[in-house]
């Protein structure tokens, strides 16, 4: 039998997982029962400010946005301002010739960028999890790009891709590689490639950090056991590392997928959605509707659509990574 036995999926230290129900703690059991009435009342008052604050900064904008999306809130059209629009703004999503192409581009970019970042991030995390001299230094160095603000990295890459003075074409020329004379940001595919590189450069380290954290909690004994059972490196990765990495992988994928899906700043800094509309992503369209066109109603409909899609993506991941009870 070569199959390595996998223990139940562990969770970060101290956090009870949904798959491993813990007996309710004393404090949890006590809430509402063990406490005196006045204590309970005090408790509610004590959390009230936090609840109100949370509602004010999360629920309120969300609902306000929802309200906007069903109304005419176009500041260039004050006569209809605040009037009920029904599904008009949502209808415009479909009839507007920009939304659907933007959605397709955004989905395409999200899929490619997440896969690229996952593969490189995983490789980085595995490498950084090995013992070698100067590991601390290398780890720190790898994470530097992530500390650079996105807009700054966008501007940086824009100048790197400049056809006359940029580093990218220079190095391609020196190495006699194709695309040495490309005007990267002036083509649909080269533009997206440049955006992908800039985005991956900054965000792959983030993926790597999360995966590395996941790798570090895998007990070394499991690998020893796998080795004793004669598992190859690949088999050990496939049957020990990957299953044990599931929680970290889920967090990393959800984070990265959602932020790729909502990509805005790199595009704004590098291509402004051009050439034409070929690098316009959904969040960029949303920004344009608010800032340039001051049409808050339509923009709100875009935001709501974005929100629903992000919820679907997140729910999809949660389902895929649902703990497996059958084993």
């Amino acid at each position: 039998m070569r199959q390595v036995q996998t223990p139940p999926v562990p969770h970060a230290q101290g956090e009870p997982g949904p798959d491993r129900p813990e007996p309710p703690s004393r404090a949890a059991r006590g809430a509402g029962q063990g406490l005196r009435r006045s204590d309970r009342r005090f408790g509610y008052w004590a959390i009230a400010p936090a609840v109100v604050l949370l509602l004010a900064i999360t629920a309120f904008p969300l609902l306000y946005n929802l309200w906007d999306s069903f109304h005419h809130v176009d500041y260039l059209n004050p006569s209809t301002l605040g009037k009920f629009a029904g599904l008009g703004n949502y209808k415009a999503l479909v009839t507007n010739n920009l939304f659907v192409p933007s959605l397709e581009r955004t989905l395409g970019f999200t899929a490619v960028s997440v896969v690229v970042e996952l593969v490189i991030g995983m490789a980085l995390a595995l490498a950084l999890n090995q013992r070698f001299r100067g590991r601390g230094l290398v780890r720190a160095a790898v994470f530097i790009p992530w500390a650079v603000p996105t807009v700054v990295s966008g501007m940086l890459w824009k100048s790197m891709f400049d056809p006359q003075t940029g580093f990218v074409n220079y190095i391609l020329t020196v190495l006699h590689l194709p695309l040495a004379h490309a005007t990267w940001l002036d083509g649909t595919y080269t533009g997206w490639a440049a955006i992908l590189i800039a985005d991956a450069w900054r965000n792959t380290p983030f993926m790597a950090i999360l995966l590395l954290a996941g790798l570090q909690v895998i007990p070394a004994e499991l690998y020893e056991a796998a080795r004793l059972d004669g598992a190859s490196v690949w088999k050990a990765f496939r049957h020990v590392t990957l299953p044990m990495l599931k929680p970290a992988l889920m967090v990393a994928l959800i984070f990265r997928t959602l932020s790729s899906f909502l990509i805005f700043d790199v595009i704004s800094a590098m291509t402004s959605g051009g050439p034409g509309t070929s690098t316009q992503a959904l969040a960029y369209l949303n920004w344009q509707a608010i800032i340039q066109d001051s049409n808050f109603g339509f923009a709100a409909a875009i935001s709501v659509a974005l929100m629903i899609m992000t919820l679907i993506i997140a729910a999809g991941y949660l389902r895929i990574f649902r703990p497996d009870y059958t084993r």
Binding site: G32, R40, R41, Y44, W45, A48, V51, V52, L55, A56, A59, F60, L63, Y64, L66, W67, D68, H71, Y75, L76, N77, P78, S79, L81, G82, K158, D162, P163, Q164, T183, L185, D186, G187, T188, T271, S272, G273, G274, P275, G276, T277, S278, Q288, I291, Q292, D293, S294
Partner: protein, 438 residues
């Protein structure tokens, strides 16, 4: 407000109603605020709430400007306060990036704020803001409209009212190297021929003609300066011969004549400025601020800089009008003092001082004085460009129209669409936007 229930929704029977009360109270407070925000309408303060100009007061002036422009503004404010000790001017600094500044102003106006009182606006904005009901009609102050360059004055007028007053003018023209180009070109074809022969004979030149072709507002002004006809009256159909010729010229400059590098499709003004100041191009399209930099000590193009409107095939050159206007917040209660401040900023001495110290060309025609020419002789040459200035379409939906035109130019320069096809597909979009204006 159906979307938010005030009833506690949790079905847990053990929960006390008190908890529900707290939750509902918080929720209700938030919903009420939402309702209040949603129904705010534009109401002008009654005349009785206006503070007279003679009273002691503070007005807020929203303006951008870094470096020499910011310093010139501070100096002007100090001089105004000295002459009017009862009025204190507080400067609210806006972002130097036009879009961000717009966002900052939008937020204040949408919230119905009575400040800033005086607002600096790019010439493309006043009509949009006036349409939204955010600007005070200045007719009551009897604005001396004839003292300004008419093209810029038009950017502040809307539906019979004056909503903004020109502060300083700007127009985009072609810089040329007087040491390389003996007689400035009279037609686009001549410019191409000059650029090509110079590129062939001068290895130090990297390109023949630099312009900003990135997908942003600058592409529209470049397009207009090179002959594009997008006057307000053409918006119902911008598919005209001037636009076709201009788009074709821009495309050809890159892909056929090779006088402009393909990099210009990602260039903004600052990139054009760098190309010009490094002496690598004999022709460059840019705004007047570059003249002052070109003539500065240590500049490789000092004493070799000339500036003309872009040569026209039809013999009637045009230059895209830029510049800044000043407006008053419709909800300001300090309108009299605000107007006094605007009068000061547009007075001849203040205009000349700003022109000399910050390089901002006066919007008042009479400010082009012998004194100004003696200190900054290039203003003499610049006047030819201002005389050719044409405004971008004066319409409240300009932002939206500009987005479409930017997309059109960008897809043509990238070779995604032919000039004719791009014009054909963009014209109905622009017409449709313009048709929404009531």
């Amino acid at each position: 407000m159906k979307y938010m229930s005030c009833k506690p929704t949790r079905r847990d029977r053990r929960r006390s109603t008190r908890r529900g009360v707290v939750f509902a109270a918080g929720t209700a407070a938030i919903v009420l605020t939402a309702g209040a925000c949603g129904s705010s309408s534009a109401a002008t303060p009654p005349a009785s709430s206006q503070v007279p100009a003679s009273a002691k007061q503070t007005i807020v002036f929203a303006t951008d400007g870094l470096g020499s422009e910011g310093k010139a503004t501070d100096a002007a404010v100090a001089a105004f306060e000295k002459a009017n000790p009862n009025i204190h001017v507080q400067v609210l600094a806006l972002s130097p990036t036009s879009n961000v500044a717009l966002n900052q102003l939008d937020q204040r106006f949408i919230s119905g704020s009575s400040t800033p009182d005086v607002i600096y606006l790019d010439v493309i904005r006043p009509v949009q803001f006036a349409q939204s009901g955010w600007l005070a009609n200045l007719n009551k102050f009897h604005v001396p409209t004839s003292t300004f360059f008419p093209a810029q004055m038009a950017t502040g007028e809307y539906k019979g009212g004056v909503y903004a007053v020109p502060w300083f003018i700007n127009a985009e023209g072609v810089y040329y190297r007087t040491d390389l180009v003996k007689t400035p070109p009279k037609t686009p074809a001549q410019l191409v021929a000059d650029a090509r022969s110079l590129l062939a004979t001068h290895p130090s030149l990297k390109e023949g003609f630099a312009f900003e072709g990135a997908e942003y507002e600058g592409a529209v002004t470049a397009f207009q300066s090179m002959g594009g006809n997008i006057a307000s009256s053409t918006l119902s159909n911008i598919n005209n011969s001037s636009n076709l010729a201009t788009l074709t010229f821009m495309y050809d400059a890159i892909h056929k004549y090779h006088i402009s590098p393909s990099a210009v499709t990602t260039w903004e003004e600052s990139n054009v400025q760098n190309a010009w100041l490094s002496g690598q191009t004999p022709f460059a399209l840019n705004w007047p601020y570059l003249f002052q930099l070109s003539e500065a000590a240590g500049s490789p193009v000092a004493g070799k800089t000339g500036w003309i409107p872009f040569p026209s095939a039809t013999g009637k050159p045009q230059a895209s009008l830029g510049g800044a206007d000043l407006a008053i917040n419709a909800k300001s209660t300090h309108q009299a003092a605000a107007w006094k401040f605007i009068q000061y900023l547009t007075s001849i001495p203040a205009q000349v001082t700003r022109a000399i110290n910050a390089g901002d060309p006066p919007s008042v025609k009479a400010a082009y004085t012998a004194h100004l020419y003696s200190v900054a002789p290039y203003y003499r040459q610049e006047q030819a460009v201002y005389a050719a200035a044409v405004p971008r379409p004066i319409t409240p939906v300009y932002s939206n129209i500009s987005t479409d035109i930017q997309t059109m130019i960008s897809s043509v320069l990238a070779g995604q669409e032919s000039p004719a096809a791009a014009l054909k597909s963009t014209a109905p979009q622009v017409a449709q936007l313009q048709a929404t204006v009531r």
